[in-house]
């Protein structure tokens, strides 16, 4: 499953999607973060700016009121109640001012303690206090003494006022100078306005950024005027958080702020976890540094939350996508998996296995339908094949049985040997198919031997059925007592009846009278028998009629053949002479007759089988095309009349000069002394010359090479046997034969000798024996010779 399409698709697509979403989120985070930080910077700047403006306004207001009062006092003189009244009005009408005082230089008043009325808001009620008090001694107070010493308006560092307010405050003090009669300037009074630090705190609280962010304000000396922790107020900043602060950094910031610069730093902050961002500036009027502190972490929290949401969303998207891919691929691969399983079952032979059903018309559906169709076709094909096989094996079985039955109709079941004192008979049928149309029969009654050989037209089952009819009729109608010609006519009429298919039989029927060896026979279109007598084969001249079975009331002639002891009669069907080889050449009558002559010395069964073997050798790989039947009838040789052994003469020649003349001279003498008929001499001389000339030319013999020549003369034939030790060479096959019958222009010079040898003799046999070429040619004496 790990390598399934589903898994691969899910893994691949998820990886791609993760990559895309991840990169998207990263880019988004960077952009969002930058934009948030930028916005925050702008916002904080605006907020700080507005708070500072408000603070400046506040301070300006206090300064302005105080300066205004001072300006009036410079120019006009008031009674003490008048001064008090004026002071009361200012404090009453100016909420920002906690309290105000006009402290006259004691030299200007009668009272040695001086005159210093002070109005202030105490718990919301305008209260009066006289600072000209022995104990307080306002001339010693910093706001008075420092201002007089400085000679100009200034903001005092914050302090705890014990004089009246009893609160933390800071004071704006303005010295008031007047001119005397001598235009000498003298100190008249110091006018002050107090500002409660709580008031500043009120403004600074607006500078709140994030949950833990806060603002703080320091005095020019570094005293904390306002901050988150009230306990730290009025303490020096370096003392307030001495453990936590990076003092040099703060010192640097503080110094820069005093110099009027705006600075932003990222530092460890008091009271805020982690790094924080500090923006520090200063108030123009007082020069007090004001700082805003906030946690970057906290500021970016919404962004983080947003990113977390995005990540969750991304994961959810991936999950849904995976599910979708899984479900889609399952829909595609599901049928394929089912198909693979079904195919496995089909391969194991289960053709009834259920196929996954195809929905729609997509590629998968088409594949499924093709497979289903294939399964159906395969099933019906196999069923057909089974039926065909069954019926074929049934037919084969039936044919085998039919063949057995058919052969059982023939004497000795298709291959017969019947040996008697006077004669021997051998016969064999070999059908081209399981069953065939050839037949033979024989039977002896007293000294009459009845023989029959037939060949039904066509072959196979139709021929076999007709053959069965024919052989039954032959065995019924023909016998040793019946004249063959009459039996043939009778058979013809019987076979013709109802023969709508026009089947026919070529038939040889014969009766041999063993008393006088006279054979009477009739032939219905059958191949003429061959007679082997004294080593020579003669084709019997016969008067034959048409094949039986085609027309009624036909007459057949009786042939008479006088046989002699030692004769061998061969009766055969045309399957023998019409046996073809790969080159479509027929075995032929000559082939058969030569074969018959060659096997003359063998016993009839061995001779018969040798002839069958020769036919098979000729046919080679070509299938037997027709049924083959051969019957050999051998008459036992009579001791008194048996032929004598042939006379023979033999000699050897070297290949020296005049070979031809020497050989022909010897041959002439040999033939004469052996009593060979005179008219054969020239033919034999010619044949001998051609053979030995060929050996001399092509045999590769040395000048001492020997050629043996043997001549045998019998009553019926003359044989020449010529042996040499030359290179293996079969002149009958390998010698050059120029084409015959060409005109002068295209005639080839040479290549004629072998033609003469084969034309002038009846049989030629070449053998390679013990390193010798042995060529034996036989000339039949009974046949016509030259002359």
């Amino acid at each position: 499953m790990s390598r399934s399409i589903t898994t691969r698709l899910i893994v691949l697509l998820t990886l791609c999607a993760t990559l895309i979403i991840g990169v998207g989120m990263l880019v988004d985070y960077r952009l969002s973060r930058d934009s948030i930080l930028e916005r925050l910077r702008v916002e904080s700047q605006e907020t700080i700016g507005s708070v500072i403006i408000d603070l400046e306004n506040l301070l300006d207001g206090v300064e302005g009121s105080t300066l205004f009062l001072a300006r009036i006092l410079e120019q006009r003189s008031y009674t003490q109640p008048g001064l008090e009244q004026m002071l009361k009005d200012i404090v009453e009408n100016n909420e920002d001012i906690f309290g105000a005082s006009i402290a006259l230089d004691p030299a200007q008043v009668d009272n040695p303690l001086g005159f210093a009325p002070y109005y202030y808001h105490k718990d919301g009620i305008l209260t009066y206090a006289d600072l000209a008090d022995q104990q307080y001694n306002y001339r010693a107070q910093p706001w008075y003494a420092d201002t007089v010493a400085a000679g100009k308006a200034n903001w005092a560092d914050p302090y705890f006022d014990e004089g009246g307010g009893g609160i933390l405050m800071t004071t704006f003090a303005v010295p008031v100078y007047r001119l005397d009669e001598r235009n000498q300037r003298f100190l008249y009074a110091v006018v002050t306005a107090d500002l409660a630090l709580d008031e500043l705190q009120h403004y600074l609280k607006r500078l709140k950024l994030g949950n833990s962010g806060y603002a703080t304000m320091l005095s020019r000396t570094g005293i904390i005027l306002s901050g988150r922790n009230p306990d730290n107020i009025m303490r020096h900043y370096s003392e307030a958080h001495s453990d936590e602060l990076d003092n040099p950094a703060w010192q640097a910031m503080f110094t820069s702020a005093l110099a009027g610069q705006n600075i932003t730093r990222q530092l460890e902050c008091p009271e805020i976890a982690g790094k924080c961002i500090i923006r520090m500036g200063s108030l123009k009027s007082t020069g007090w540094p004001v700082a805003v502190l906030y946690s970057e972490q906290e500021i970016l929290t919404p962004l983080r939350k947003f990113q977390a949401k995005s990540a969750i969303l991304g994961l959810a998207t991936l999950l849904f996508m995976s599910l979708a891919v899984y479900s889609v691929t399952r829909r595609i691969t599901g049928p394929l998996t089912a198909l693979a399983l079904a195919s496995d079952r089909m391969a194991r032979g289960d053709l009834d296995t259920a196929m996954p059903t195809a929905k729609g018309d997509d590629e998968i559906a088409r594949l499924l339908r093709s497979f289903t169709a294939m399964k159906t076709d395969l099933k019906s094909y196999i069923a057909d094949l089974e039926t065909a096989t069954a019926s074929r094996s049934r037919v084969e079985g039936e044919l085998a049985a039919a063949s057995e039955i058919q052969m059982s109709m023939l004497p000795q079941g298709g291959e017969a040997i019947d040996l008697h004192q006077e004669y021997g008979l051998w016969a064999k049928v070999r059908p081209a198919k399981s069953v065939g149309g050839d037949l033979y029969s024989y039977y002896r009654s007293n000294n009459q031997l009845f023989i029959a050989v037939g060949d039904v037209s066509d072959k196979g089952v139709p021929a076999a059925l007709f053959m069965a009819k024919a052989i039954s009729l032959i065995q019924q109608m023909a016998s040793a007592e019946t004249e063959p010609a009459a039996a043939m006519a009778q058979l013809n009429n019987a076979l013709e009846a109802g023969n709508d298919n026009c089947m026919f039989v070529t038939l040889f029927l014969g009766v041999l009278d063993l008393n006088n060896l006279q054979l009477r026979f009739a032939s219905a279109g059958h191949t003429a028998p061959s007679l082997l007598r004294a080593g020579a084969v003669t084709v019997i001249d016969q008067d034959d009629g048409p094949a039986v079975g085609l027309a009624t009331n036909l007459q057949y002639a009786t042939n008479t053949l006088q046989l002699a002891a030692g004769d061998r009669l061969a009766i055969y069907t045309d399957g023998i002479d019409e046996s073809f080889n790969e080159k479509a050449e027929m075995f032929g009558f000559d082939g058969f007759n030569r074969c018959l002559a060659k096997t003359a010395m063998a016993a009839i069964d061995a001779a018969g089988l040798a002839i069958f073997a020769a036919i098979d050798k000729h046919a080679g790989t070509t299938a037997q095309s027709d049924d083959i039947t051969l019957m050999l009838l051998q008459l036992k040789p009579d001791e008194l009349t048996s032929t004598t052994k042939p006379e023979q003469a033999a000699t050897s020649f070297t290949t020296a000069e005049h070979l031809t003349t020497r050989a022909l001279d010897w041959l002439q003498q040999a033939l004469e002394s052996l009593g060979a008929p005179e008219d054969t001499h020239m033919v034999l001389a010619l044949v001998t010359e051609e053979i030995i000339t060929n050996i001399d030319k092509y045999g590769g013999l040395t000048p001492e090479g020997i050629i043996d020549v043997k001549v045998e003369v019998s009553a019926s034939s003359i044989s020449l046997e010529i042996r040499d030790q030359g290179i293996a060479f079969n002149p009958l096959v390998d010698a050059i034969r120029s084409p015959l019958g060409t005109d002068i222009e295209s005639a080839e010079i040479g290549g004629l000798g072998v033609h003469l040898v084969t034309e002038l003799t009846d049989e030629q046999v070449y053998q390679r024996i013990d390193g010798h070429n042995v060529l034996r040619v036989t000339k039949s004496v009974s046949e016509g010779t030259i002359s």
Binding site: L659, T660, E690, L740, E745, H755, S787
Partner: protein, 124 residues
């Protein structure tokens, strides 16, 4: 058996007559070939092989005759055989030798042919 050859030439009619006596076989063929070549080289219009006394001929002899027949034919002349004995005739027949070669069964046929040749020459 040996072979004797008698050559007589009728220059007037451009006819060479080669009479063969004996056997034309492998042994005698080379000698005969030499003689016949000489005759053929003479460029006669007609060369007649008179076989009246030829007792025997083998393929070696036929080879010589084939060769001469080709040569005369290509030179625009003719080679003819006359008076073939039956068994010589049979050899020619078996080998279907030179069906287009002129053959005269006897002297009479040959003479008639020679006369007609002379007529043609005079006629030209």
């Amino acid at each position: 058996m040996d072979l004797k050859t008698t050559v007589s030439i009728d220059e007037e009619n451009s006819v060479a007559r080669v009479a063969l006596t004996g056997a034309l076989n492998t042994d005698t063929a080379p000698g005969f070939e030499q003689q016949l070549q000489k005759v053929v080289a003479g460029g006669h219009r007609l060369t007649v092989l008179d076989m009246k006394d030829l007792e025997y001929i083998s393929s070696a002899g036929l080879r010589v005759i084939f060769k001469a027949a080709k040569q005369t034919k290509s030179a625009g002349h003719r080679l003819a055989a006359a008076n073939r004995k039956p068994h010589i005739d049979k050899v020619f027949e078996i080998l279907k030798a030179l069906p287009d070669m002129a053959v005269f069964a006897n002297d009479q046929e040959l003479d008639d042919y020679l006369d007609s040749m002379q007529e043609q020459v005079r006629g030209q």
